[in-house]
Point group: C2
Chain length 188, copies 2
């Protein structure tokens, strides 16, 4: 890698790391391009050369972070689903992560293009990973042949999202386990 | 009812009717208090005497409209759920209703108090009505004793809401029927 490319890549990573750090520290609402630039040790113009604005930087930072997530595969679909659902519920229950996701969700409701990006880059990889794990379980006979796996994925994430966004009930481990029990009853 | 009360009630209904009419005509984003007042034949100050702003008027208008909805009860939980889910999916698929719900949802993400009102006055009555219908079906032996009805309600509405908000798939009658099949598999 030539020096200029390496420096660019270092700046890009520094910017995304700074964005994630500020997101965790001050939260989405108060985060500015100026603060990201200062923390990353680059000029504002460097950020604006690569991204149109704050939402796009945060989206890239979250998307690169998200690809590191891998799904558990012990061979036991019940154990694996329980782990995934508990972790997902815990993420939505975390005040900081919840605030970021609420802010991003509000922006996607006002901006269809950003909504498509968030869906395709942040959400879809997780949904596809769970669908693939369910597909493997179906081929192993742990899920009935008639079960539709697109419905299955939405039976898992839809209720969590609904409960989180509308604040209709607690997001606890007990809730997560109850949800898994009901989803498995639909799929077995 | 004394004349003043009757006139107040007539004005209140005229304002809510005007709000619903404008919502259907110009949509939530372009709707103004001025336009509601003009259409209802009242002064702006009458509206501001009773409501703090546009969101509150729309919420009242939608909430009064929503209470007129009654749940089907043929005695057959499968037939009744199918009707409810088809109707709900059709509402979310309707561009005008979807735009209103997206605008209101975006506002609730930025305003917790409005979010609580929307949940308790628009959403909760529907969820409770479905839960009551499921409870009756459970007592009639059409739903297994171990099924948790709060989970059941969220298994129905969560996936629809998730698919609608994140635009992950089509909102068709075929989708509605598939969802009902999977939910019933979890509950029987």
């Amino acid at each position: 890698m030539p020096d200029a490319s390496r420096r660019n890549e270092q700046s890009r990573r520094a910017i995304l790391d700074a964005a994630l750090g500020l997101l965790a520290g001050t939260g989405y609402a108060k985060l500015t391009i100026e603060a990201i630039a200062a923390r990353a040790g680059v000029g504002k113009q460097t950020i604006y050369r690569w991204w149109p604005g704050k939402g796009a930087v945060i989206l890239d930072a979250l998307a690169e972070n998200a690809t590191a997530v891998t799904l558990p595969d012990t061979g036991d679909i019940e154990a694996d689903l329980r782990e995934v659902v508990r972790a997902t519920v815990a993420e939505f229950a975390d005040p900081r992560q919840s605030a970021t996701t609420r802010a991003l969700t509000a922006e996607t409701l006002a901006d269809d293009a950003l909504g498509d990006q968030v869906r395709d880059r942040l959400l879809r990889p997780q949904l596809v990973a769970v669908r693939d794990r369910l597909d493997k379980a179906q081929r192993a006979g742990q899920i009935r042949d008639g079960a539709d796996l697109d419905h299955a994925v939405e039976l898992i994430f839809g209720p969590i999202f609904h409960r989180w966004l509308l604040r209709t009930g607690p997001l606890t481990r007990r809730y997560a386990d109850g949800l898994v029990d009901h989803v498995l009853a639909a799929l077995r």
